[in-house]
């Protein structure tokens, strides 16, 4: 009796959410509009790769904010980018094309990641972004101003309940993304990332050099164990539109801050699978169940994380998507070796 009511109420809630998202999807686009959307996507995708710029952006997730400074330079040798995290523990990332080195001065550690595909603001769109119109409707919004620059707002509304909506503000001349707001189905901004200061055009290449040059006392940690693997793990029921963009074996490093008197948990190897619908990303981490963990879920802004023990394995799923999408993923992970 109790269980029936339990299941029924779940069903009711589930249908409720389905209705809301159906309402949000609206009529389908004409071919002309689709073409325009594709060129918009291409512009947002390519601008941050071809431009030189330096700026400061703020990332707000629920009650947390984080400020970062980004410097991007591109020439015949490819892309060079420095990302300095200005809040909390000091961290500095230097990216040369698809290799990222993270400098952690507190622990005198350099963490190296190879073959990186995850995007960093303002390059938010993934490689499969051309499929975005299948899962979001695009609408031109008002002209706005961010970091002293004029920008055009575009509203991306999800066609189903497996993803959030976005409000993007794109700089008019360059096509660079100046602000991205994540919006839930009540049209509330739950997360946002925006430049507070931005300089477009030539930048001093010396500014991209790592701030830490003498690394003789530092220790170098390679986070990428194997960058392209096929582990045999699959997600049987992915939310619509999400495709695997990467599967790798990597190191999860020990947490940056551990109070004294506690033994810090060691770094360990995990399998990471990254799925994307072109905009939102979901990471699945799989590892042997060695330590004591507690199962559960947590939400902060648009980010949901769920953890679960499955047999001898420990699963962690993280993504900027609604909890039901994360739940669908965490509940359909299977080992199917070929």
């Amino acid at each position: 009796m109790q269980v029936n009511r339990f299941q029924l109420s779940f069903l009711v809630m589930y249908l409720g959410i389905g209705n809301i998202s159906a309402f949000a999807s609206g009529p389908s686009n004409t071919t002309d509009e689709k073409l325009e959307v594709q060129s918009l996507i291409k512009m947002i995708q390519s601008a941050p790769q071809k431009l030189n710029y330096s700026g400061t952006f703020v990332y707000q997730q629920a009650s947390q904010i984080r400020t970062s400074k980004i410097t991007h330079h591109v020439d015949a040798n490819g892309e060079l980018e420095k990302l300095e995290i200005l809040d909390g523990n000091s961290r500095e990332y230097v990216r040369k094309n698809d290799e990222v080195s993270c400098y952690l001065p507190d622990s005198k550690t350099v963490q190296v990641e190879k073959d990186v595909t995850q995007e960093v603001f303002p390059a938010l769109l993934a490689r499969n972004a051309t499929q975005l119109p299948d899962f979001y409707t695009f609408k031109k919004g008002e002209v706005s101003r961010v970091a002293g620059l004029e920008c055009q707002t575009y509203v991306m509304s999800p066609r189903d309940g497996a993803r959030y909506g976005y409000r993007l503000c794109v700089e008019k001349q360059s096509g660079l993304l100046l602000r991205a707001q994540t919006v839930n189905n009540h049209d509330e901004v739950i997360e946002q990332i925006a430049f507070t200061q931005l300089k477009l055009g030539d930048i001093d290449k010396n500014k991209i050099k790592p701030s830490f040059q003498n690394l003789s006392q530092w220790h170098i940690e390679n986070l990428t164990v194997q960058s392209n693997i096929s582990s045999g793990w699959i997600v049987k029921s992915l939310p619509a539109g999400f495709v695997k963009t990467k599967e790798l074996k990597r190191v999860i490093s020990a947490p940056p801050s551990i109070p004294s008197g506690r033994k810090p948990p060691n770094s360990h190897q995990v399998i990471q699978m990254i799925f994307s619908d072109g905009m939102a990303a979901i990471s699945v981490f799989i590892e042997p169940n060695m330590e004591q963990h507690s199962e559960g879920s947590l939400q902060q802004g648009a980010m949901t994380i769920m953890t679960k023990r499955q047999g001898d394995y420990w699963l962690t799923v993280v993504g900027e998507v609604p909890a039901n999408a994360i739940r669908q993923v965490v509940n359909s992970i299977e080992f199917k070796p070929k």
Binding site: Q2, V3, R5, F6, Q7, S9, F10, V12, M13, Y14, Y59, Q61, S63, Q64, I65, R66, S68, L83, I85, G88, C102, Q118, V120, F121, N184, N185, H186, E188, I190, R250, I252, P255, P256, S257, P259, Q272, A281, S283, F285, Q292, H293, S294, E295, G296, S297, L298, Q299, Q300, M303, I305, T307, K308, R309, G311, T316, V318, A323, R327, V330, N331
Partner: protein
């Protein structure tokens, strides 16, 4: 004097164990009687609040006025649910992962009694994850609800409904309001710094979840309370 202090410590450890659902039936009855006799429900409330805050700062809110009373009335109006004994024994040994489940089970009882819709939405899928195959999964998803049902029903016979309502409300009231999608998963929170490493692996500039001051390996009220 020292004796009284020791008594108090022991009593509080018992309350803490009760909050975590770690008492057997015999102990349960004893501790509930003691709680009622000593009017220790503020200790009980405090422990729940500690547990909530450990999970998230967002849960650090006082109960709305008269919540305990309203909950008790609704609980008293619920029909008794009796279960055969054999359904109860699902987990033979007790690991720490199970303690977490037990914790969930405690909340599930409240869910089924007071806020079925909201809680079911949030916990239903979590509970049904525990099995490997479909059959086990169904069985387990029923079992935890039934088991805590039996425990609480027998307890309410022995003591007083209001007390039991107090027992759960510090976590319930706040959570019942969380039926907006933005907060729907904010229930079972982990303030585990290990989580941050996964977040950074997912996204380089992700803000941290935990900070040093809130370091806990497991969201366990017993350790938090006794460490005070």
């Amino acid at each position: 004097m020292a004796n009284k202090m020791m008594n108090d410590t022991l009593k509080r450890e018992n309350i803490s164990a009760l909050v975590d659902g770690e008492l057997n039936n015999g102990e349960l009855e004893l501790v509930l009687k003691q709680l009622l006799f000593d009017k220790e429900d503020d200790v009980w409330n405090t422990y729940h609040l500690i547990g909530d805050v450990v999970r998230s700062d967002d849960l650090a809110a006082p109960l709305s006025s008269g919540f305990t009373q309203r909950f008790a009335e609704k609980f008293a109006a619920e029909p008794l649910l009796l279960m055969p004994e054999k359904h109860v024994k699902v987990f033979p040994e007790k690991s720490s992962a199970q303690r977490v489940r037990q914790y969930l089970r405690t909340y599930l009882t409240v869910a089924s009694v007071a806020a079925a819709a909201v809680f079911a939405f949030m916990f239903g899928p979590l509970v049904s994850q525990f099995g490997q195959d479909k059959y086990v999964s169904t069985q387990l998803s029923k079992a935890p609800v039934m088991q805590s049902e039996v425990q609480l029903v027998s307890a309410s016979n022995a003591t007083d409904n209001t007390l039991l309502a107090t027992a759960e409300d510090s976590s319930t009231d706040e959570k019942v309001q969380m039926n907006t999608p933005a907060k729907e998963a904010a229930i079972e929170m982990m303030r585990d710094p290990r989580i941050d490493s996964y977040l950074i692996a997912h996204q380089r500039f992700s803000p941290a979840i935990s900070n040093a001051a809130q370091y806990v390996t497991q969201a366990n009220t017993a350790t938090t309370a006794s460490g005070k």
